[in-house]
Structures are given as structure tokens and as C-alpha cells.
């Protein structure tokens, strides 16, 4: 996939195994055709702030990543006049109250704790995909 392709879902996740599970769950419902996976916050920011990228319908953001972490990505996006309209869903293992609070303070659109149980995880991912890619009307 080149940066000129339409990206519907931008998955920012450093753990390749976790990313594999997310993509697997989305594929089952045919939601992964326009998915771009980047492996850390730095890569995500350079993709999102490059002039010739398309605006994704939703960003799935992991919090704990090396170099630039998810919270930093969220802060950069939500403080940018143009980028702040992109829906961001935090997808994390952390159930810590302060992470939830901080994410919402920064303007996150949803906060999902990844369940350990794969059936629940797959359902959560499919729900997110359906809602943000099919149901939700993002700003043009």
C-alpha cells in the first residue's frame, strides 16, 4: 500500500502479534481492505502529517509504544487544527483510570480496553470497525 491509496483504518500498534489479531478480526468482516498498519508513534505522525496522505476514517491507537507513545500521538493530533477532526479510538491493554482520563482530556473519541479473551476481543474490534467505518459519518 502506498501513501496515495485510500486509508480507512490507520492501526498504530507496536506489538506485531496484537496487530495480527486486530487485522484478523477485521478481515473476518471484510473491514481490513483499506487498513494501514504502522508500528510506532513516530511512523504514525510522519504518515499523518505528510502532505499527500488521505485522512483515515478512524485511527486505532495503542498507548504504550517505544519512542513516541500513544498519548503523545493523541496530543499532537488533537492540538492540530486540521487533524483534530479525525476520530481516534484508543485500543489498549491499560485499564488505568489516569490513562482513560488523560485520553479523554486530550479529546479521544473512544477508549477500548483490549480483552484477553479473543472472542470478546474479536467482537470489540468488529464493533469498532462497523461503527467507525460503516456507520459513522466523518467530516469531509
Amino acid at each position: 500500500m502506498t501513501t496515495h491509496d485510500v486509508v480507512e483504518i490507520l492501526l498504530i500498534e507496536d506489538n506485531p502479534d496484537d496487530a495480527g489479531l486486530t487485522i484478523h478480526a477485521l478481515k473476518k468482516h471484510d473491514l481490513a481492505n483499506h487498513l494501514l498498519h504502522v508500528q510506532d508513534g513516530e511512523e504514525a505522525l510522519s504518515y499523518l502529517f505528510s502532505p499527500d496522505t488521505t485522512t483515515p476514517k478512524v485511527i486505532l491507537l495503542d498507548l504504550k509504544m517505544p519512542k513516541v507513545d500513544g498519548m503523545e500521538v493523541l496530543r499532537k493530533l488533537k492540538s492540530d487544527e486540521l487533524k483534530k477532526v479525525i476520530p481516534v479510538v484508543v485500543l489498549t491493554s491499560s485499564r488505568e483510570d489516569r490513562d482513560v482520563l488523560e485520553s479523554y482530556q486530550l479529546g479521544v473519541n473512544a477508549y477500548i480496553v483490549k480483552p484477553v479473551d479473543f472472542d470478546k476481543f474479536a467482537k470489540a474490534i468488529a464493533d469498532i470497525g462497523f461503527f467507525w467505518v460503516m456507520l459513522n459519518q466523518p467530516p469531509k
Binding site: 506489538n15 502479534d17 496484537d18 495480527g20 489479531l21 484478523h24 498507548l63 504504550k64 489498549t92 491493554s93 491499560s94 485499564r95 488505568e96 483490549k114 480483552p115 484477553v116 479473551d117 479473543f118 472472542d119 476481543f121 474479536a122
Partner: protein, 351 residues
């Protein structure tokens, strides 16, 4: 009589003493206090105001001394400045001038509070470390578990034709254990978090909480026949979130351990125990337990039943106990094998 001895006691006491006149000027100070401040007697007596040593601006320091002098029972914490510029924490109190030869003179006693402060700092540091530790557990331990469960599931679904019955069974064992460990981690974190959470006491409508929790539990097992009788449930002053969790765990247990009864019966009621405690009681007609092991009931990771018979991590009642004791109450259980169990807990009545 004993004038000399009195002076020696005054100077060698483990706490600092000093006297000020009506202008706040120091008219006497014992050796202990002089040593802490790092001055010679001649540098201070009749020359310095005590507020000069308080690490705060002059007005604030004067106000502190005035407040202290007015309020004899009260001890005030403040920082004093040594001759070398270093500061150290103290607790200071004063005595009534009644019986003094000059009623305008005030006498103060001072305790060096450095060790207490150091201990507090250490606790704060440990608390931060603990928080970082549990944060890391919540994040780093769950991710690999999700992979174990997830990829086993993919194997089971997408490669089903290459796995025989035994292969399927083995994979199920792997997944069940991954999920179980996930639950253990969640429960353990809940338990840890409880100890640090600030208690927010407010009047709590127990009847409402019990009804909501019961509805929740019924929704999880819609095909079970469960008769619940709810008696009078007195309101209490407690932390509402914690109460929800407490009832959820206790009623959840009543549901779980009566699962083999054709008709499960659960009775919930409350009554006053003397005039200082409310006692809440949850009675079920389930499998009960052997009172011989009652002492283990509320310990963390303690279970009195086999995993095959009843699921669970052994954290639920430990959480119950912690919630109750944080509220200043007690919890206990009465049971017999095959004859159900009755759990009781008390909450103190707010004065």
C-alpha cells in the same frame, strides 16, 4: 531547690524550648534548640525574633506564632532555617502563660520532625513504585495472554480440519488457562487498587444497589430459577462504588454456589446491631462450606471448592473483606456443607 538540676533538664531535653517576649524577641532558648539552629546563645538571646527562623515570609511567620499562641492544644508544623541556610521540619506547641511571672511571655516547645518527613517521603516513593509496578502488570502481562488465547483460537478455527479431537481439546486447555490468568490479573489489580483508592463516604441507598446488582446477575443467567427475598435494607454512609462491588461479589457468590439447586433461594436483609452498627446479611441455599476452613475464606487466592465445580479466582471475598475493613466494619460467614451459607457484614453508623 533543684534550680541547677532544673536548668540541666531544660538544656538537655530531647525537644527544643524557647521563650519570647511580647515583641516576639527570644529571651531564652535551651541548648537542644540552639544546637538544631546552629547558633551560640549570645547570637540569639535578646537579639533575634523567633519569626526570623521560620522559613516563610515575615508576615506569615508572625501569623503562625500568633495562631499558635492563641491555640494551646494545637501543634503546628513548620520549617525552620538553620544558621547555614538549611531548613528542617518541626512540630511546635505552646503552653498557657498562666502562673508565669510575666504573663506577656510565651513559652514554646519544639520537636524535630525530620525523621517523620523522611519516612513520609519514603512511603510516597514506594507508593509511586507500586503504582508503576501495577501499571506495568496491567499492560505488559495481558498482551502476551491475548496472543496465546487469540492465536490458539485462530488455529482452532482456521485449521480445524488438521486437528483431531484430542488436538482440539488440548487447544481448549491452553485457551482456558490464558483466560483464567487474564481474570487473575484483573482481580489482583482490582484488589491492589482498592487499597489506594480514597474512600468517598456519602449516604448510600443499599436497596437500590442490591436491586441493580441482582438484575445484573439475573441477566447473566436468564434460564436459572432464583427466588430472591429482599428485606428491609438500611441506608448507610459509605463509598458507593465500593458498595456496588461488595454486593456484586457477595450476591455473585450466592448465585454461583446455589447453581446446583433446582430453585435457588437468596435472602437479603439488614438490622441494627446495637445502635452503632448496621448488619447486612446474605443467605443462600447453595452448597455451603465446611466451617473448619472458615478462617481461609477471606484470604487472597484462597478457594474452598474445586475449579471443576465452581469457577473463580479466589479474590472476590478478599476484596469484600478489604472494602468492609476500610469502612471500619466486620465480615464473617456461617455455613455447613450442603446447607447453604450466610454472609454478614457490618458498617458503622455515622455519628
Amino acid at each position: 531547690m533543684f534550680e541547677k538540676e532544673g536548668l540541666i533538664l531544660f538544656n538537655h531535653a530531647p525537644c527544643g524550648y524557647h521563650l519570647i517576649d511580647e515583641d516576639g524577641v527570644i529571651i531564652n532558648m535551651n541548648d537542644t534548640m540552639l544546637g538544631w539552629l546552629g547558633y551560640e546563645r549570645e547570637e540569639i538571646i535578646g537579639k533575634k525574633r523567633f519569626s526570623d527562623f521560620i522559613h516563610a515570609d515575615r508576615d506569615a511567620a508572625d501569623r503562625m506564632i500568633a495562631t499558635l499562641a492563641k491555640n494551646e492544644e494545637h501543634h503546628t508544623e513548620m520549617q525552620l532555617t538553620r544558621k547555614d541556610g538549611e531548613t528542617f521540619p518541626v512540630v511546635m506547641g505552646t503552653m498557657s502563660p498562666e502562673g508565669f511571672s510575666d504573663p506577656a511571655v510565651r513559652m514554646f516547645s519544639t520537636l524535630d520532625n525530620s525523621r517523620c518527613h523522611e519516612a513520609l517521603e519514603r512511603i510516597k516513593r514506594l507508593d509511586q513504585e507500586l503504582e508503576a509496578f501495577s501499571y506495568s502488570i496491567s499492560h505488559d502481562l495481558r498482551a502476551p495472554l491475548r496472543s496465546i488465547d487469540g492465536y490458539s483460537k485462530i488455529l482452532q478455527e482456521d485449521y480445524a480440519d488438521q486437528l483431531d479431537k484430542e488436538g482440539q481439546r488440548v487447544l481448549n486447555v491452553v485457551m482456558n488457562n490464558a483466560r483464567r490468568m487474564g481474570n487473575l490479573i484483573d482481580d489482583l489489580l482490582d484488589f491492589g487498587r482498592l487499597g489506594r483508592k480514597v474512600l468517598q463516604r456519602k449516604p448510600v441507598n443499599m436497596a437500590m444497589i442490591v436491586n441493580t446488582v441482582l438484575q445484573n446477575l439475573r441477566d447473566q443467567k436468564p434460564d436459572r430459577e432464583i427466588e430472591v427475598r429482599i428485606g428491609d435494607l438500611l441506608a448507610a454512609s459509605a463509598d458507593a462504588d465500593m458498595m456496588r462491588q461488595l454486593w456484586f461479589n457477595l450476591l455473585g457468590n450466592a448465585f454461583k454456589y446455589s447453581g446446583q439447586e433446582k430453585v435457588a433461594r437468596i435472602d437479603v436483609r439488614s438490622y441494627m446491631l446495637g445502635n452503632r452498627e448496621i448488619c447486612y446479611e446474605i443467605k443462600d441455599n447453595g452448597v455451603g462450606f465446611d466451617m473448619q476452613y472458615a478462617g481461609k475464606l477471606f484470604g487472597i487466592f484462597q478457594r474452598l471448592h474445586k475449579m471443576q465445580d465452581f469457577s473463580g479466582t479466589g479474590v472476590g471475598l478478599a476484596i469484600v473483606k478489604r472494602i468492609v475493613s476500610r469502612h471500619g466494619g466486620r465480615v464473617w460467614a456461617q455455613a455447613a456443607v450442603g446447607e447453604g451459607a450466610t454472609f454478614s457484614f457490618t458498617l458503622p453508623v455515622e455519628e
